[in-house]
Protein backbone atom coordinates (compact mmCIF):
# COMPACT_ATOMS: atom_id res chain seq x y z
CA UNK A 1 0.00 0.00 0.00
CA UNK A 2 1.61 3.25 -1.08
CA UNK A 3 1.46 6.44 0.97
CA UNK A 4 -1.32 7.79 -1.26
CA UNK A 5 -3.58 4.87 -0.66
CA UNK A 6 -2.89 4.89 3.03
CA UNK A 7 -3.82 8.56 3.28
CA UNK A 8 -6.97 7.91 1.28
CA UNK A 9 -7.93 5.01 3.53
CA UNK A 10 -7.34 7.17 6.60
CA UNK A 11 -9.52 9.95 5.20
CA UNK A 12 -12.25 7.47 4.34
CA UNK A 13 -12.06 6.09 7.88
CA UNK A 14 -12.29 9.57 9.31
CA UNK A 15 -15.32 10.38 7.15
CA UNK A 16 -16.98 7.17 8.29
CA UNK A 17 -16.20 8.03 11.92
CA UNK A 18 -17.86 11.44 11.42
CA UNK A 19 -20.96 9.96 9.84
CA UNK A 20 -21.31 7.02 12.21
CA UNK A 21 -23.01 8.61 15.24
CA UNK A 22 -25.97 9.74 13.12
CA UNK A 23 -26.79 6.12 12.36
CA UNK A 24 -26.31 4.80 15.87
CA UNK A 25 -28.18 5.06 19.15
CA UNK A 26 -26.86 7.45 21.78
CA UNK A 27 -25.65 4.52 23.82
CA UNK A 28 -23.60 3.17 20.91
CA UNK A 29 -22.15 6.62 20.35
CA UNK A 30 -21.19 6.71 24.02
CA UNK A 31 -19.52 3.31 23.68
CA UNK A 32 -17.53 4.49 20.68
CA UNK A 33 -16.50 7.55 22.69
CA UNK A 34 -15.07 5.21 25.29
CA UNK A 35 -13.28 3.24 22.57
CA UNK A 36 -11.53 6.43 21.50
CA UNK A 37 -10.68 7.27 25.11
CA UNK A 38 -9.09 3.86 25.57
CA UNK A 39 -7.33 4.17 22.21
CA UNK A 40 -5.56 7.31 23.44
CA UNK A 41 -4.43 5.56 26.63
CA UNK A 42 -3.28 2.51 24.69
CA UNK A 43 -1.36 4.71 22.29
CA UNK A 44 0.53 6.10 25.28
CA UNK A 45 1.36 2.58 26.39
CA UNK A 46 2.45 1.63 22.86
CA UNK A 47 4.84 4.58 22.70
CA UNK A 48 6.36 3.51 26.00
CA UNK A 49 6.43 -0.26 25.63
CA UNK A 50 6.47 -0.88 21.91
CA UNK A 51 8.69 1.95 20.74
CA UNK A 52 10.86 2.63 23.79
CA UNK A 53 10.98 -0.84 25.34
CA UNK A 54 10.07 0.32 28.83
CA UNK A 55 7.41 -1.46 30.76
CA UNK A 56 4.46 -0.20 32.71
CA UNK A 57 1.82 -2.12 34.61
CA UNK A 58 0.66 1.12 36.17
CA UNK A 59 -0.88 3.22 33.43
CA UNK A 60 -4.23 2.91 35.15
CA UNK A 61 -2.72 5.11 37.88
CA UNK A 62 -1.87 7.89 35.41
CA UNK A 63 -5.30 7.52 33.84
CA UNK A 64 -6.71 8.02 37.34
CA UNK A 65 -4.55 11.10 37.93
CA UNK A 66 -5.77 12.62 34.66
CA UNK A 67 -9.39 11.80 35.48
CA UNK A 68 -9.12 13.32 38.94
CA UNK A 69 -7.30 16.41 37.65
CA UNK A 70 -10.17 17.07 35.23
CA UNK A 71 -12.86 16.22 37.76
CA UNK A 72 -11.41 18.42 40.52
CA UNK A 73 -11.01 21.37 38.16
CA UNK A 74 -14.57 20.98 36.89
CA UNK A 75 -16.27 20.29 40.22
CA UNK A 76 -14.42 22.71 42.50
CA UNK A 77 -13.06 25.44 40.26
CA UNK A 78 -15.73 25.49 37.54
CA UNK A 79 -13.17 25.23 34.78
CA UNK A 80 -14.86 24.46 31.44
CA UNK A 81 -14.46 20.82 30.41
CA UNK A 82 -12.29 21.46 27.35
CA UNK A 83 -9.82 23.48 29.38
CA UNK A 84 -9.26 20.59 31.81
CA UNK A 85 -7.58 18.49 29.11
CA UNK A 86 -4.37 20.55 28.84
CA UNK A 87 -4.27 20.75 32.63
CA UNK A 88 -4.64 16.98 33.00
CA UNK A 89 -2.01 16.51 30.30
CA UNK A 90 0.43 18.79 32.10
CA UNK A 91 -0.15 17.15 35.47
CA UNK A 92 0.39 13.68 34.07
CA UNK A 93 3.39 14.72 32.00
CA UNK A 94 4.99 15.99 35.20
CA UNK A 95 3.90 12.95 37.24
CA UNK A 96 5.14 10.55 34.57
CA UNK A 97 8.42 12.38 34.16
CA UNK A 98 9.01 12.38 37.92
CA UNK A 99 8.11 8.71 38.20
CA UNK A 100 10.24 7.98 35.15
CA UNK A 101 13.32 9.65 36.62
CA UNK A 102 14.00 7.08 39.33
CA UNK A 103 12.58 4.38 37.09
CA UNK A 104 15.50 5.01 34.74
CA UNK A 105 17.68 2.93 36.93
CA UNK A 106 15.34 -0.02 36.62
CA UNK A 107 15.48 -2.55 33.85
CA UNK A 108 12.25 -3.90 32.38
CA UNK A 109 11.11 -6.31 35.02
CA UNK A 110 11.67 -4.04 38.00
CA UNK A 111 10.04 -1.12 36.28
CA UNK A 112 7.01 -3.37 35.80
CA UNK A 113 7.13 -4.14 39.52
CA UNK A 114 7.40 -0.50 40.58
CA UNK A 115 4.58 0.59 38.30
CA UNK A 116 2.46 -2.36 39.43
CA UNK A 117 2.80 -1.27 43.03
CA UNK A 118 1.83 2.26 42.01
CA UNK A 119 -1.33 0.90 40.38
CA UNK A 120 -2.17 -1.21 43.44
CA UNK A 121 -1.66 1.69 45.82
CA UNK A 122 -3.56 4.26 43.71
CA UNK A 123 -7.13 3.64 44.98
CA UNK A 124 -6.02 3.88 48.61
CA UNK A 125 -4.14 7.12 47.87
CA UNK A 126 -7.27 8.56 46.24
CA UNK A 127 -9.35 7.54 49.25
CA UNK A 128 -6.93 9.20 51.67
CA UNK A 129 -8.83 11.31 54.16
CA UNK A 130 -6.35 14.19 54.08
CA UNK A 131 -7.30 15.05 50.50
CA UNK A 132 -10.93 13.94 50.68
CA UNK A 133 -12.22 17.51 50.46
CA UNK A 134 -10.68 17.76 47.04
CA UNK A 135 -11.24 14.22 45.76
CA UNK A 136 -14.61 13.50 47.35
CA UNK A 137 -13.10 10.53 49.22
CA UNK A 138 -14.69 7.13 48.68
CA UNK A 139 -17.81 8.65 47.08
CA UNK A 140 -15.82 10.39 44.37
CA UNK A 141 -17.04 13.34 42.34
CA UNK A 142 -20.04 13.71 40.07
CA UNK A 143 -19.70 15.91 36.97
CA UNK A 144 -22.15 17.45 34.54
CA UNK A 145 -22.19 16.47 30.91
CA UNK A 146 -21.26 19.26 28.51
CA UNK A 147 -23.75 20.62 25.94
CA UNK A 148 -22.85 21.24 22.33
CA UNK A 149 -21.51 24.77 21.87
CA UNK A 150 -22.52 27.43 19.29
CA UNK A 151 -26.05 26.04 19.16
CA UNK A 152 -24.96 23.00 17.13
CA UNK A 153 -27.88 20.63 16.59
CA UNK A 154 -26.25 17.75 18.47
CA UNK A 155 -27.32 16.07 21.67
CA UNK A 156 -24.84 15.66 24.53
CA UNK A 157 -23.69 12.14 23.63
CA UNK A 158 -23.07 13.00 20.00
CA UNK A 159 -21.31 16.24 20.84
CA UNK A 160 -19.03 14.36 23.24
CA UNK A 161 -18.37 11.84 20.50
CA UNK A 162 -17.19 14.56 18.11
CA UNK A 163 -15.19 16.33 20.78
CA UNK A 164 -13.44 13.06 21.68
CA UNK A 165 -12.91 12.28 18.01
CA UNK A 166 -11.17 15.62 17.51
CA UNK A 167 -8.93 15.07 20.53
CA UNK A 168 -8.16 11.52 19.42
CA UNK A 169 -7.16 12.62 15.93
CA UNK A 170 -4.98 15.33 17.43
CA UNK A 171 -3.26 12.90 19.81
CA UNK A 172 -2.66 10.34 17.06
CA UNK A 173 -1.23 12.94 14.70
CA UNK A 174 1.05 14.16 17.49
CA UNK A 175 2.24 10.64 18.21
CA UNK A 176 2.84 9.93 14.52
CA UNK A 177 4.80 13.15 14.21
CA UNK A 178 6.82 12.42 17.32
CA UNK A 179 7.74 8.90 16.27
CA UNK A 180 8.63 9.42 12.62
CA UNK A 181 11.32 12.05 13.20
CA UNK A 182 14.64 12.37 14.97
CA UNK A 183 13.13 11.95 18.41
CA UNK A 184 11.26 8.85 17.35
CA UNK A 185 14.39 7.27 15.93
CA UNK A 186 16.21 8.00 19.19
CA UNK A 187 13.35 6.43 21.17
CA UNK A 188 13.49 3.27 19.07
CA UNK A 189 17.30 3.17 19.12
CA UNK A 190 17.25 3.14 22.92
CA UNK A 191 14.97 0.13 22.78
CA UNK A 192 17.03 -1.84 20.27
CA UNK A 193 20.63 -0.88 20.99
CA UNK A 194 20.89 1.04 24.25
CA UNK A 195 24.68 1.08 24.28
CA UNK A 196 25.07 2.03 20.63
CA UNK A 197 22.42 4.72 21.08
CA UNK A 198 24.41 6.23 23.92
CA UNK A 199 27.58 6.05 21.86
CA UNK A 200 25.79 8.00 19.12
CA UNK A 201 25.24 10.80 21.60
CA UNK A 202 21.61 10.16 22.52
CA UNK A 203 20.90 11.25 26.07
CA UNK A 204 19.21 7.98 27.01
CA UNK A 205 18.29 9.08 30.53
CA UNK A 206 16.50 12.19 29.33
CA UNK A 207 14.73 10.44 26.46
CA UNK A 208 13.58 7.55 28.63
CA UNK A 209 12.05 9.72 31.33
CA UNK A 210 10.57 12.05 28.71
CA UNK A 211 9.01 9.06 26.94
CA UNK A 212 7.60 7.93 30.26
CA UNK A 213 6.21 11.41 30.79
CA UNK A 214 4.68 11.61 27.32
CA UNK A 215 3.20 8.16 27.73
CA UNK A 216 1.70 9.13 31.09
CA UNK A 217 0.40 12.31 29.46
CA UNK A 218 -1.54 10.24 26.93
CA UNK A 219 -3.00 8.17 29.73
CA UNK A 220 -3.89 11.38 31.57
CA UNK A 221 -5.66 12.96 28.60
CA UNK A 222 -7.57 9.72 28.17
CA UNK A 223 -8.45 9.74 31.86
CA UNK A 224 -9.74 13.31 31.68
CA UNK A 225 -11.85 12.52 28.61
CA UNK A 226 -13.12 9.37 30.29
CA UNK A 227 -14.12 11.32 33.40
CA UNK A 228 -16.02 13.87 31.27
CA UNK A 229 -17.77 11.12 29.32
CA UNK A 230 -18.74 9.00 32.32
CA UNK A 231 -19.45 12.12 34.46
CA UNK A 232 -18.14 10.40 37.53
CA UNK A 233 -14.85 9.54 39.19
CA UNK A 234 -14.37 7.32 42.24
CA UNK A 235 -11.30 5.55 43.63
CA UNK A 236 -12.68 2.09 42.99
CA UNK A 237 -12.98 2.65 39.24
CA UNK A 238 -9.19 2.79 39.11
CA UNK A 239 -8.23 -0.56 40.58
CA UNK A 240 -5.18 -2.42 39.35
CA UNK A 241 -7.42 -4.29 36.88
CA UNK A 242 -7.60 -1.13 34.76
CA UNK A 243 -3.84 -1.22 34.25
CA UNK A 244 -4.12 -4.85 33.21
CA UNK A 245 -6.85 -3.93 30.72
CA UNK A 246 -4.50 -1.37 29.18
CA UNK A 247 -1.75 -3.96 28.89
CA UNK A 248 -4.17 -6.42 27.30
CA UNK A 249 -5.37 -3.85 24.78
CA UNK A 250 -1.84 -2.81 23.88
CA UNK A 251 -0.59 -6.36 23.44
CA UNK A 252 -3.58 -7.61 21.48
CA UNK A 253 -3.87 -4.53 19.30
CA UNK A 254 -0.19 -4.58 18.53
CA UNK A 255 2.28 -2.86 20.78
CA UNK A 256 4.75 -1.92 18.04
CA UNK A 257 2.33 0.21 16.07
CA UNK A 258 0.21 3.34 16.29
CA UNK A 259 -2.90 1.85 14.73
CA UNK A 260 -2.75 -1.09 17.14
CA UNK A 261 -4.14 1.17 19.86
CA UNK A 262 -7.47 1.39 17.99
CA UNK A 263 -7.78 -2.37 17.51
CA UNK A 264 -6.85 -2.94 21.13
CA UNK A 265 -9.43 -0.45 22.37
CA UNK A 266 -12.19 -2.17 20.40
CA UNK A 267 -11.07 -5.51 21.76
CA UNK A 268 -11.00 -4.60 25.45
CA UNK A 269 -14.30 -2.75 25.33
CA UNK A 270 -16.41 -5.09 23.23
CA UNK A 271 -15.17 -8.55 24.19
CA UNK A 272 -16.44 -8.18 27.78
CA UNK A 273 -19.84 -7.07 26.44
CA UNK A 274 -20.10 -10.16 24.31
CA UNK A 275 -18.83 -12.62 26.88
CA UNK A 276 -20.49 -11.27 30.00
CA UNK A 277 -23.55 -13.43 29.34
CA UNK A 278 -21.57 -16.61 30.01
CA UNK A 279 -20.37 -15.80 33.50
CA UNK A 280 -19.10 -12.89 35.55
CA UNK A 281 -15.65 -14.40 35.34
CA UNK A 282 -15.76 -15.07 31.59
CA UNK A 283 -14.38 -11.75 30.27
CA UNK A 284 -11.33 -12.00 32.49
CA UNK A 285 -10.73 -15.63 31.59
CA UNK A 286 -10.99 -14.76 27.89
CA UNK A 287 -8.59 -11.83 28.33
CA UNK A 288 -6.08 -14.08 30.06
CA UNK A 289 -6.36 -16.82 27.46
CA UNK A 290 -6.05 -14.31 24.60
CA UNK A 291 -2.94 -12.80 26.19
CA UNK A 292 -1.14 -16.13 26.41
CA UNK A 293 -2.29 -17.35 22.99
CA UNK A 294 -1.25 -14.06 21.37
CA UNK A 295 2.18 -14.31 22.95
CA UNK A 296 2.51 -17.80 21.49
CA UNK A 297 1.26 -17.24 17.96
CA UNK A 298 1.00 -13.51 17.28
CA UNK A 299 3.24 -11.44 19.56
CA UNK A 300 2.98 -8.49 17.16
CA UNK A 301 -0.75 -8.15 17.79
CA UNK A 302 -3.55 -7.44 15.34
CA UNK A 303 -1.87 -4.41 13.75
CA UNK A 304 1.41 -6.26 13.31
CA UNK A 305 -0.43 -9.21 11.81
CA UNK A 306 -2.22 -6.97 9.30
CA UNK A 307 1.09 -5.40 8.36
CA UNK A 308 2.65 -8.82 7.79
CA UNK A 309 -0.37 -9.94 5.77
CA UNK A 310 -0.18 -6.79 3.61
CA UNK A 311 3.53 -7.34 2.99
CA UNK A 312 2.87 -10.93 2.07
CA UNK A 313 0.09 -9.97 -0.37
CA UNK A 314 2.32 -7.31 -1.94
CA UNK A 315 5.11 -9.82 -2.47
CA UNK A 316 2.69 -12.21 -4.11
CA UNK A 317 1.21 -9.69 -6.53
CA UNK A 318 4.66 -8.34 -7.21
CA UNK A 319 5.99 -11.78 -8.04
CA UNK A 320 3.05 -12.71 -10.30
CA UNK A 321 3.29 -9.46 -12.25
CA UNK A 322 7.00 -10.03 -12.54
CA UNK A 323 6.40 -13.49 -13.95
CA UNK A 324 3.82 -12.31 -16.49
CA UNK A 325 6.18 -9.50 -17.48
CA UNK A 326 8.90 -11.98 -18.30
CA UNK A 327 6.64 -14.26 -20.30
CA UNK A 328 7.26 -14.03 -24.04
Amino acid sequence: MSAHWRLLALLAGLAAACALPFFLSDYRAFQLTLVMVYAIALLGLNILTGFNGQFSLGHGAFYAIGAYAAAILMAHYEVPYWATLPAAAAVCLAAGFLFGLPALRLEGLFLALATLSLAVAMPSILKYRGIAELTGGVQGLVLTKPDAPFGLPLNQDRWLYFFTLAVTVLMFVLAWNLLRGRVGRAIVAIRDQPIAARAMGINAALYKSLTFGVSAMYAGVAGALGAIAIQFVAPDSFQVGLSFVFLIGAVIGGVYSISGAVFGAFFVLFVPHISEGISRAAPQAIFGAFLIVFMFVMPVGIAGFLRLAAAWARRRTHRSSHVTGEAP
Binding site: I292, M295, P299
Partner: protein, 290 residues
Amino acid sequence: MEALLLQVLSGLATGGIYASLALAVVMIYKATHVVNFAQGEMAMFSTYLAWQLIQWGLPYWGAFFLTIALSFVGGVLIERVIIRPFEAHDAVLAVVTVFIGLFLILNSLAGWTWEYTLKSFPSPFPAEAYLGGYLSGHQLGLFFVVLATLAVVYAFFRFTPLGLAMRAAAENPDSSRLVGIRVSWMLALGWGFAAALGAIAGIMVAPLVFLEPNMMGFVLIYAFAGALLGGIDNPWGAVIGGFAMGVLENIMGVYVVGTELKLTVALVIIVGVLVVRPSGIFGSAVVTRV
Protein backbone atom coordinates in the same frame (compact mmCIF):
# COMPACT_ATOMS: atom_id res chain seq x y z
CA MET B 1 5.07 0.29 74.94
CA GLU B 2 2.87 -2.78 75.30
CA ALA B 3 0.86 -1.70 72.31
CA LEU B 4 4.07 -1.41 70.33
CA LEU B 5 5.08 -4.93 71.39
CA LEU B 6 1.69 -6.20 70.28
CA GLN B 7 2.13 -4.58 66.88
CA VAL B 8 5.61 -6.05 66.48
CA LEU B 9 4.51 -9.56 67.41
CA SER B 10 1.46 -9.64 65.19
CA GLY B 11 3.58 -8.02 62.49
CA LEU B 12 6.04 -10.88 62.74
CA ALA B 13 3.15 -13.33 62.35
CA THR B 14 1.82 -11.77 59.13
CA GLY B 15 5.44 -11.17 58.12
CA GLY B 16 5.85 -14.93 58.08
CA ILE B 17 3.30 -15.10 55.29
CA TYR B 18 5.06 -12.39 53.32
CA ALA B 19 8.33 -14.20 53.95
CA SER B 20 7.12 -17.50 52.47
CA LEU B 21 5.66 -15.79 49.41
CA ALA B 22 8.79 -13.67 49.05
CA LEU B 23 10.87 -16.83 49.20
CA ALA B 24 8.72 -18.32 46.43
CA VAL B 25 9.29 -15.21 44.30
CA VAL B 26 13.05 -15.32 44.93
CA MET B 27 13.20 -19.01 44.12
CA ILE B 28 11.83 -18.40 40.64
CA TYR B 29 13.85 -15.21 40.23
CA LYS B 30 17.13 -16.93 41.05
CA ALA B 31 16.48 -19.71 38.57
CA THR B 32 15.06 -17.74 35.66
CA HIS B 33 15.59 -14.02 36.37
CA VAL B 34 11.93 -13.23 36.07
CA VAL B 35 9.55 -12.10 38.78
CA ASN B 36 6.40 -14.19 38.81
CA PHE B 37 3.51 -11.75 38.95
CA ALA B 38 1.07 -14.64 39.18
CA GLN B 39 2.63 -16.06 42.37
CA GLY B 40 -0.12 -14.64 44.55
CA GLU B 41 -2.91 -15.95 42.34
CA MET B 42 -1.31 -19.40 42.28
CA ALA B 43 -1.31 -19.32 46.08
CA MET B 44 -4.94 -18.17 46.12
CA PHE B 45 -5.94 -21.02 43.82
CA SER B 46 -4.14 -23.54 46.07
CA THR B 47 -6.00 -22.16 49.05
CA TYR B 48 -9.31 -22.73 47.29
CA LEU B 49 -8.22 -26.31 46.59
CA ALA B 50 -7.52 -26.79 50.29
CA TRP B 51 -10.90 -25.30 51.16
CA GLN B 52 -12.61 -27.66 48.71
CA LEU B 53 -10.79 -30.69 50.11
CA ILE B 54 -11.82 -29.75 53.64
CA GLN B 55 -15.41 -29.30 52.44
CA TRP B 56 -15.27 -32.80 51.00
CA GLY B 57 -14.51 -34.09 54.48
CA LEU B 58 -10.74 -34.44 54.57
CA PRO B 59 -9.11 -33.71 57.93
CA TYR B 60 -7.32 -30.35 58.04
CA TRP B 61 -3.75 -31.61 57.92
CA GLY B 62 -4.62 -34.19 55.27
CA ALA B 63 -6.01 -31.40 53.09
CA PHE B 64 -2.97 -29.24 53.94
CA PHE B 65 -0.40 -31.74 52.70
CA LEU B 66 -2.48 -32.93 49.76
CA THR B 67 -2.86 -29.30 48.62
CA ILE B 68 0.88 -28.78 48.85
CA ALA B 69 1.47 -31.86 46.72
CA LEU B 70 -1.16 -30.79 44.17
CA SER B 71 0.28 -27.27 44.05
CA PHE B 72 3.74 -28.68 43.44
CA VAL B 73 2.44 -30.67 40.49
CA GLY B 74 0.47 -27.67 39.27
CA GLY B 75 3.53 -25.44 39.46
CA VAL B 76 5.63 -27.91 37.47
CA LEU B 77 2.85 -28.23 34.88
CA ILE B 78 2.51 -24.46 34.49
CA GLU B 79 6.26 -24.16 33.91
CA ARG B 80 6.32 -27.01 31.39
CA VAL B 81 3.27 -25.96 29.40
CA ILE B 82 3.08 -22.16 29.56
CA ILE B 83 6.41 -20.72 30.67
CA ARG B 84 8.92 -23.02 29.03
CA PRO B 85 8.35 -21.86 25.43
CA PHE B 86 9.52 -18.41 26.54
CA GLU B 87 12.57 -19.69 28.38
CA ALA B 88 14.84 -19.36 25.37
CA HIS B 89 14.30 -15.78 24.34
CA ASP B 90 14.90 -13.07 26.81
CA ALA B 91 11.91 -10.84 26.09
CA VAL B 92 10.57 -9.14 29.18
CA LEU B 93 7.38 -8.10 27.41
CA ALA B 94 6.49 -11.68 26.51
CA VAL B 95 7.24 -13.09 29.94
CA VAL B 96 5.43 -10.39 31.91
CA THR B 97 2.46 -10.57 29.56
CA VAL B 98 2.23 -14.32 30.02
CA PHE B 99 2.35 -13.88 33.81
CA ILE B 100 -0.47 -11.35 33.64
CA GLY B 101 -2.43 -13.76 31.46
CA LEU B 102 -1.87 -16.49 34.02
CA PHE B 103 -2.92 -14.09 36.78
CA LEU B 104 -6.20 -13.30 35.01
CA ILE B 105 -6.95 -16.92 34.19
CA LEU B 106 -6.35 -18.22 37.72
CA ASN B 107 -8.28 -15.33 39.25
CA SER B 108 -11.30 -15.80 37.00
CA LEU B 109 -11.23 -19.61 37.24
CA ALA B 110 -11.39 -19.36 41.02
CA GLY B 111 -14.26 -16.88 40.77
CA TRP B 112 -16.02 -19.07 38.23
CA THR B 113 -15.70 -22.28 40.24
CA TRP B 114 -16.15 -21.03 43.79
CA GLU B 115 -18.10 -17.77 43.35
CA TYR B 116 -16.94 -14.36 44.49
CA THR B 117 -18.53 -14.53 47.94
CA LEU B 118 -16.29 -14.35 50.99
CA LYS B 119 -15.64 -17.71 52.60
CA SER B 120 -14.25 -18.27 56.05
CA PHE B 121 -11.33 -20.64 56.23
CA PRO B 122 -10.79 -22.93 59.24
CA SER B 123 -7.72 -22.74 61.44
CA PRO B 124 -6.30 -25.87 63.08
CA PHE B 125 -4.96 -23.89 66.02
CA PRO B 126 -6.80 -23.15 69.27
CA ALA B 127 -8.75 -19.92 69.32
CA GLU B 128 -7.58 -18.51 72.67
CA ALA B 129 -4.86 -15.87 72.92
CA TYR B 130 -1.28 -16.58 73.93
CA LEU B 131 1.72 -14.72 75.27
CA GLY B 132 -0.36 -12.70 77.70
CA GLY B 133 -3.03 -12.00 75.11
CA TYR B 134 -0.68 -10.63 72.51
CA LEU B 135 -1.16 -13.23 69.81
CA SER B 136 -4.10 -15.34 68.71
CA GLY B 137 -3.58 -19.07 68.53
CA HIS B 138 -3.61 -18.91 64.77
CA GLN B 139 -0.96 -16.22 64.59
CA LEU B 140 1.32 -18.20 66.86
CA GLY B 141 0.60 -21.42 64.96
CA LEU B 142 1.24 -19.90 61.56
CA PHE B 143 4.50 -18.47 62.85
CA PHE B 144 5.71 -21.97 63.72
CA VAL B 145 4.40 -23.44 60.45
CA VAL B 146 6.37 -20.82 58.53
CA LEU B 147 9.51 -21.44 60.58
CA ALA B 148 9.18 -25.21 60.05
CA THR B 149 8.71 -24.66 56.32
CA LEU B 150 11.78 -22.46 56.11
CA ALA B 151 13.79 -25.09 58.01
CA VAL B 152 12.66 -27.78 55.57
CA VAL B 153 13.50 -25.59 52.57
CA TYR B 154 16.91 -24.81 54.03
CA ALA B 155 17.64 -28.46 54.75
CA PHE B 156 16.53 -29.47 51.29
CA PHE B 157 18.77 -27.01 49.48
CA ARG B 158 21.69 -27.51 51.86
CA PHE B 159 21.83 -31.27 52.38
CA THR B 160 20.21 -33.12 49.47
CA PRO B 161 21.81 -33.85 46.07
CA LEU B 162 18.68 -32.61 44.29
CA GLY B 163 18.80 -29.36 46.21
CA LEU B 164 22.42 -28.93 45.27
CA ALA B 165 21.62 -29.64 41.62
CA MET B 166 18.87 -27.04 41.66
CA ARG B 167 21.17 -24.45 43.18
CA ALA B 168 23.82 -25.26 40.62
CA ALA B 169 21.34 -24.98 37.76
CA ALA B 170 20.27 -21.56 38.98
CA GLU B 171 23.81 -20.36 39.62
CA ASN B 172 25.54 -21.53 36.47
CA PRO B 173 23.31 -23.29 33.94
CA ASP B 174 26.03 -23.92 31.34
CA SER B 175 28.46 -25.67 33.68
CA SER B 176 25.58 -27.59 35.25
CA ARG B 177 24.61 -28.92 31.87
CA LEU B 178 28.18 -30.10 31.35
CA VAL B 179 28.12 -32.16 34.54
CA GLY B 180 24.83 -33.76 33.53
CA ILE B 181 22.21 -31.76 35.40
CA ARG B 182 18.97 -31.39 33.47
CA VAL B 183 18.74 -27.66 33.93
CA SER B 184 15.36 -27.22 32.30
CA TRP B 185 13.78 -29.74 34.65
CA MET B 186 15.43 -28.10 37.62
CA LEU B 187 13.64 -24.89 36.66
CA ALA B 188 10.35 -26.76 36.53
CA LEU B 189 11.02 -28.22 39.98
CA GLY B 190 11.77 -24.70 41.20
CA TRP B 191 8.34 -23.64 39.98
CA GLY B 192 6.85 -26.60 41.81
CA PHE B 193 8.55 -25.64 45.06
CA ALA B 194 7.52 -22.02 44.65
CA ALA B 195 3.90 -23.07 44.09
CA ALA B 196 4.03 -25.29 47.19
CA LEU B 197 5.46 -22.45 49.30
CA GLY B 198 2.75 -20.17 47.99
CA ALA B 199 0.13 -22.75 48.95
CA ILE B 200 1.39 -22.74 52.53
CA ALA B 201 1.30 -18.95 52.60
CA GLY B 202 -2.24 -18.92 51.20
CA ILE B 203 -3.59 -21.52 53.61
CA MET B 204 -2.02 -19.72 56.55
CA VAL B 205 -3.25 -16.25 55.59
CA ALA B 206 -6.78 -17.33 54.65
CA PRO B 207 -8.17 -17.54 58.22
CA LEU B 208 -6.99 -13.95 58.79
CA VAL B 209 -8.39 -12.30 55.66
CA PHE B 210 -11.27 -14.52 54.40
CA LEU B 211 -11.09 -16.55 51.24
CA GLU B 212 -11.93 -14.70 48.01
CA PRO B 213 -10.32 -14.49 44.56
CA ASN B 214 -8.56 -11.19 45.23
CA MET B 215 -7.25 -12.01 48.67
CA MET B 216 -3.60 -12.34 47.65
CA GLY B 217 -3.30 -9.03 45.83
CA PHE B 218 -1.94 -6.98 48.69
CA VAL B 219 -0.06 -9.95 50.17
CA LEU B 220 1.88 -10.26 46.93
CA ILE B 221 2.78 -6.56 46.92
CA TYR B 222 4.13 -6.87 50.47
CA ALA B 223 5.98 -10.02 49.50
CA PHE B 224 7.55 -8.17 46.55
CA ALA B 225 8.51 -5.32 48.84
CA GLY B 226 10.01 -7.79 51.30
CA ALA B 227 11.92 -9.64 48.60
CA LEU B 228 13.33 -6.40 47.21
CA LEU B 229 14.17 -5.06 50.66
CA GLY B 230 16.13 -8.18 51.54
CA GLY B 231 17.64 -8.59 48.10
CA ILE B 232 15.81 -10.28 45.27
CA ASP B 233 18.57 -12.80 44.66
CA ASN B 234 19.13 -13.75 48.27
CA PRO B 235 16.66 -16.25 49.81
CA TRP B 236 17.63 -15.38 53.39
CA GLY B 237 17.39 -11.71 52.65
CA ALA B 238 13.92 -12.24 51.22
CA VAL B 239 12.80 -14.09 54.33
CA ILE B 240 14.14 -11.38 56.62
CA GLY B 241 12.66 -8.73 54.33
CA GLY B 242 9.28 -10.46 54.50
CA PHE B 243 9.28 -10.46 58.30
CA ALA B 244 10.47 -6.86 58.31
CA MET B 245 7.61 -5.86 55.99
CA GLY B 246 5.07 -7.43 58.36
CA VAL B 247 6.42 -5.43 61.29
CA LEU B 248 6.83 -2.26 59.24
CA GLU B 249 3.30 -2.52 57.87
CA ASN B 250 1.86 -2.65 61.39
CA ILE B 251 4.02 0.06 62.89
CA MET B 252 3.63 2.46 59.97
CA GLY B 253 -0.08 1.70 59.83
CA VAL B 254 -0.66 2.43 63.51
CA TYR B 255 1.81 5.19 64.29
CA VAL B 256 2.77 7.01 61.12
CA VAL B 257 0.51 7.04 58.07
CA GLY B 258 -2.72 5.42 59.27
CA THR B 259 -4.25 2.19 58.05
CA GLU B 260 -5.62 3.72 54.86
CA LEU B 261 -2.18 4.34 53.41
CA LYS B 262 -0.63 1.01 54.40
CA LEU B 263 -0.31 -0.04 50.77
CA THR B 264 1.53 3.17 50.01
CA VAL B 265 4.20 2.02 52.45
CA ALA B 266 4.83 -0.97 50.19
CA LEU B 267 4.93 1.32 47.16
CA VAL B 268 7.42 3.66 48.83
CA ILE B 269 9.61 0.76 49.91
CA ILE B 270 9.57 -0.87 46.48
CA VAL B 271 10.43 2.35 44.66
CA GLY B 272 12.83 3.47 47.40
CA VAL B 273 14.80 0.23 47.43
CA LEU B 274 14.93 0.05 43.64
CA VAL B 275 16.24 3.58 43.42
CA VAL B 276 18.60 3.75 46.38
CA ARG B 277 19.93 0.22 46.51
CA PRO B 278 18.51 -2.02 43.78
CA SER B 279 20.27 -5.08 45.17
CA GLY B 280 18.48 -4.78 48.50
CA ILE B 281 20.12 -5.08 51.91
CA PHE B 282 21.61 -8.54 51.49
CA GLY B 283 21.59 -8.98 47.73
CA SER B 284 24.57 -8.85 45.45
CA ALA B 285 24.93 -6.03 42.95
CA VAL B 286 24.52 -7.03 39.33
CA VAL B 287 27.55 -6.35 37.21
CA THR B 288 27.03 -6.39 33.47
CA ARG B 289 29.87 -6.62 31.06
CA VAL B 290 29.36 -4.27 28.15
